[in-house]
Amino acid sequence: MEILNNRRKSGCDRSDDMVAYIYNEIVGDARRRFELHLSDCMHCTDDFAEISDARYSVFEWQKEEFADLATPQFSIPYVPKPEVSAGAGFWNIFRTHSWAFSAASVVVVCLGLVFAVFMFSDGPENDVAAVVPAVGTPAEMPANKPVVQPEKVDVAAMPAEAKNVDLDEKTTRGNTPAARPVRAATVRSNKRPTPAPRNAAPAESNFADAPVLSNYEDNEDRSLRLSDLLEEVGG
């Protein structure tokens, strides 16, 4: 406060210019104006002398007591950045992320293999069975479609002539279902593996769970059979 009062008494406050001039941070016209004022104003000249004396004392102290102190050396092992050309920069992306691209390519190849296996796996039935549910299963058939139940014929009740009929008779193509002899599902049964009873060993469960390829009866099968051909040849 005493310092401020002294400045006010003198009516001359050039403190900002004074410190700027001492530290050589006043330039141009401002510098010349201050020098001109300094040569004319006794008060500012004395003030400037006091400031300069104090400043030089600090300057001298700083040089005497701190100039000989060793500056700590910090060595930071910077890794020089490799110079990369504009074109190489593009390919460097692949080099630096080669593991990522390798992993991505492996994943793509695996997916391709899985897809190929899936698409080209053997057995059209498998594909059909996988895609299309078993046809003819009463529970699965739509309700609107008529359920064709195989006609069950009691063999015991059949007449003798019917029993002696060779069930492997040739079936001619184009025969109407009415002209064809009725075959008992049970007669044909000896040509088919008998279904295992339900109380059998674990194998029967597998057999029972076996997919049903076709649910239509043999009497509906009108395809040419080897056995029929052999009958014709053999008589």
Binding site: V27, E50, I51, S52, Y56, S57, E60, W61, K63
Partner: protein
């Protein structure tokens, strides 16, 4: 002679003993040197200007009327001498003074005469300065350290401390003034 005032020494030098003026030089050479250093920024130029100042003062001793203090009279002569030196350097197209950012100009060079008495005086002055700086208020000491030790510009100090530029300059001025008052309370006498 140590008990005489500056004005009495001047009268003595004018009347009886011209060598008495030497006491004036001994008393004020450092402060005049500091003033010249503040104006010129170079130690060798400041020493030359201080020498020219005392030569000019001795030559014009008879013109001293006593209406001002001897110190103020010497200050005025020193300022004029420094301005003349600057004009002379500018006319010679030397950029020693016009180099506004000449950090190399601030290098301190030891005084050519270093008697044991001066060494003791210097050591005592260093102790005095250290004590004065460390007892400054923290906000003033901060600016002194940043300016003298870190060699930061006023703008840099202003940005670092987030203070207006005028506040930084005002604090530095106040700090230097307080240092001056602290050091004057315990003057260093040359034995």
């Amino acid at each position: 002679m140590l008990d005489l005032t500056d004005e009495q020494i001047v009268e003595l030098a004018l009347s009886e003993d011209p060598n008495a003026f030497g006491e004036i030089v001994r008393r004020w050479e450092r402060k005049i040197f500091a003033l010249c250093f503040g104006m010129l920024g170079r130690e060798d130029d400041a020493r030359d200007a201080a020498q020219e100042t005392f030569i000019a003062a001795y030559r014009n001793l008879a013109r001293f009327r006593g209406d001002a203090r001897v110190s103020s009279w010497l200050h005025r002569i020193a300022v004029n001498q420094c301005l003349t030196t600057k004009r002379r350097d500018r006319s010679r197209a030397e950029d020693l003074i016009d180099d506004e950012n000449g950090e190399e100009d601030r290098v301190f060079v030891a005084a050519p005469q270093y008697s044991p008495a001066r060494k003791i005086e210097k050591a005592e002055r260093m102790t005095l300065v250290r004590q004065a700086v460390t007892t400054l208020p923290s906000d003033l000491r901060q600016v002194i350290v940043m300016k003298e030790f870190e060699e930061m510009t006023f703008q840099e100090i202003s940005e670092t401390l987030e203070l207006p530029l005028s506040t930084v300059k005002s604090r530095l001025y106040t700090a230097l003034k307080q240092l001056r008052m602290k050091m004057e309370r315990t003057p260093v006498e040359v034995v």
